[in-house]
Assembly symmetry: none
Homo-oligomer: 425 residues x 2
């Protein structure tokens, strides 16, 4: 019981866009014990797509295709699937109704080219798209079941979860629906991840080197992105409970060794963890940002329900706004410069007073690419955390070689981590 994944798109084949759909689908299929043994990417080329569909259907019981279902001339998955099946296209009135209804609901103007999205190869079944315009397709090619999903990652994920996964699970667990396409029982492959911040990948890797040896029941690996270190635990077992128990034991050991470096697991983010800590204690936060330009407030308000702890943020980009909005002494800026420990502190203290919050975080620094000097290089950021006990300022150098978005992102993560460790004490 295996799956093949086909990603369709000239943008993908030409390397203009990185395909994330195949990796996402492979992860979801692994969770129900189905290995995605091959992923193939091909351009929007009718003959190539048809050939690939036939080849994949010959090699795996399950084929998941993404992309090429849109309303424009270069969306060729529908005719290519018809070619692979040796049939024609026919409009589904139900699907046409659904596409029209989506446009109505979204308040968008109907264009006749959208009707193309309701054409399907004869003998196949449309899958409703409640999150966008292009319906999916369910087909049987040879001995394989083929699902065609939209290429837009969000629509693909929603349709997979709503319409494809339940069907696959019935087949895997229930041993088929009598239609001859049962996928067999494969156990589960479970992956969980510890989220860490505050040390490098090699430092973290050394502390858990024995867990990372090959040949153990749980495979453990590390990944690094913008200072966030993920420690991934993967186990294959007969049941979810068994895989959970295997992983839990290793995760607990890693948590014990890594201590404060671990801030969460799986989908948790620094901002969601900080938000939960604040809500638990009934505490509030405000922000005063210079170099991070609103990113810190944005990340905090990414958290649903953030109005329970986040009161307000100031993006004081000009020197005058630091004085007018936060009450930073203009003389202080003149004496020490806007990028200084003194100004970071005055920003945080002023912000906290004016917002009336328990905590205030401030950032001021040089995000680049220009504006650095020998004394104050690109990547220099001061971060201050004010609370009822006073204000603590720290100086960070994120490295002149980092691009502007990375410096801003790391400054925000570092600010959030300062508050997290403060709340943890």
């Amino acid at each position: 019981m295996r799956a093949e994944l086909i990603s369709i798109g000239t943008e993908l084949a030409a390397g203009i866009t990185v395909d994330t759909n195949a990796a996402w689908l492979a992860g979801r299929l692994a969770e129900v014990g189905i290995p995605a043994v091959r992923h193939v990417t091909v351009a929007d080329d009718r003959a190539e797509v048809a050939a690939e569909l036939r080849r994949a259907a010959g090699g795996a019981e399950l084929v998941v295709v993404t992309g090429g279902l849109g309303p424009t001339e270069d969306d060729l998955t529908r005719p290519a699937l018809a070619d692979a099946l040796g049939v024609g296209l026919r409009t589904s009135s139900t699907a046409l109704e659904q596409v029209r209804a989506y446009f109505l609901r979204a308040g968008r103007k109907w264009h006749e080219s959208n009707a193309r999205q309701a054409e399907f190869p004869e003998g196949t079944t449309p899958i409703e798209n409640r999150w966008g315009t292009a319906p999916g397709i369910r087909a049987v090619v040879g001995a394989s079941i083929v699902y065609c999903l939209p290429g837009v990652p969000r629509e693909m994920a929603e349709m997979f979860a709503a319409a494809v996964l339940p069907e696959i699970e019935r087949r895997v667990v229930g041993g088929g629906d009598g239609g001859g396409h049962g996928l067999g029982s494969g156990g589960v492959i479970l992956t969980r991840t510890l989220r860490c911040f505050g040390a490098g990948e090699s430092n973290i890797g050394e502390q858990i080197a024995d867990l990372m040896q090959p040949g153990r029941a749980v495979s453990v690996g590390t990944t690094a992105q913008e200072g966030m270190i993920g420690v991934r635990f993967t186990a294959r077992a007969a049941s979810r409970a068994e895989a959970d128990a295997l992983i839990e034991a290793d995760m607990n050991e890693a948590r014990r060794r890594l201590g404060v470096l671990v801030f969460g697991a799986d989908d948790q983010t620094l901002e969601s963890v900080v938000g939960a800590l604040l809500v638990d204690r009934g505490l509030t936060l405000s922000t005063a940002e210079s170099c991070t330009g609103g990113l810190l407030a944005k990340r905090l308000t990414d958290v649903p329900g953030s109005s329970a702890f986040f009161v307000r943020g100031a993006v004081t980009y000009s020197n005058a706004s630091k004085t007018e909005v936060l009450g930073v002494d203009a003389g202080l800026i003149e004496e020490h410069g806007a990028v200084s420990a003194e100004v970071a502190e005055a920003m945080a203290v002023g912000c906290r007073e004016q917002a009336g919050t328990d905590f205030a975080l401030s950032t001021t620094g040089i995000a680049g690419p220009s504006g650095g000097s020998a004394e104050k290089p690109v990547g220099l950021v001061y971060i201050a955390l004010a609370d009822s006990a006073g204000c603590r300022v720290r100086r960070f150098t994120f490295g002149e070689y980092l691009p502007r978005p990375s410096i801003r992102d790391r400054a925000c993560s570092t600010a959030l981590n300062l508050l997290r460790t403060r709340l943890r004490d």
Copy 2:
């Protein structure tokens, strides 16, 4: 003259890591006129990799493989390539010296397992890796030339640039080196993109449907992401100048038809275009955000040099902060609610006055996932733009089905686009 790309790795096949190597390589190959017609991802499985190598070599004159060259038990590209060639493995003393020298240089401890990295299929050529431990391999399989590169993106890119690209260019431009593997003359493949906002993909597709017909000298396609529509133009020609001219003609025609919907091209963003328009005219901007929570200011300050036009931003998340920071009448909020045209207008007008800027943008809405009602559903956002002539407020419904990040992102894009069209007039 075509290329196939093979990415090898269980982490990739299982969806734990997203493969970026294939897209990067496809982009570099396109620049020298070689289309990467297929990318295939397979797990670290000796038989599968060998089969894939044979299949790819049968289908393309150039095959670039990444991954599986490391020192551990699960690195199987070397034996799989030997299987595909029907030969054995033999240690290269030159390569062994180079691997040992790298360890010495990097100050790393030598482990005997690393010697495995100096074993190569008979008849193949090692490629030195000056950026890591695993050497690459150059091989001839059937009528194809096969390059095996490390999976670490940085090492892959360095080795490709230093050892593979010059060889490919010699073959493409020079018509082969007499070894029987000349790739022919390929010219260049050039891709450019128009960036559009303000209409759906189908609307834009219909206006340029004739340009999107297959078989034309320029291949034209559309993509959509969070309301941003990209119109991509790809041309293949003998020279860069010729490809440029072909694309320029089509792009100009599309620009003419799409008018105000086109905001830029290639790497331009709404915020970079708005920033450039403001700087050109010597105008300034401030922002007052509720539901977008700092994302609007963040996007504006993503633009390097944004301090030339962006003065300050207020993230007024609580009702009290709208009154205290922006001077919004508390009675107005009580009467109409924080999510209303009246409050959006008062926010923008108050923000502009206090910041002393030429323009102020405000947002207030319901980003979800909860907090919606029949009258004010999730996705409802009011956006106001204040200037010296007054204030214009607009109401948008971005759809209850959209997730919180999409609603916030679209609200910001819409706000930026309102200012863009205002500046364009």
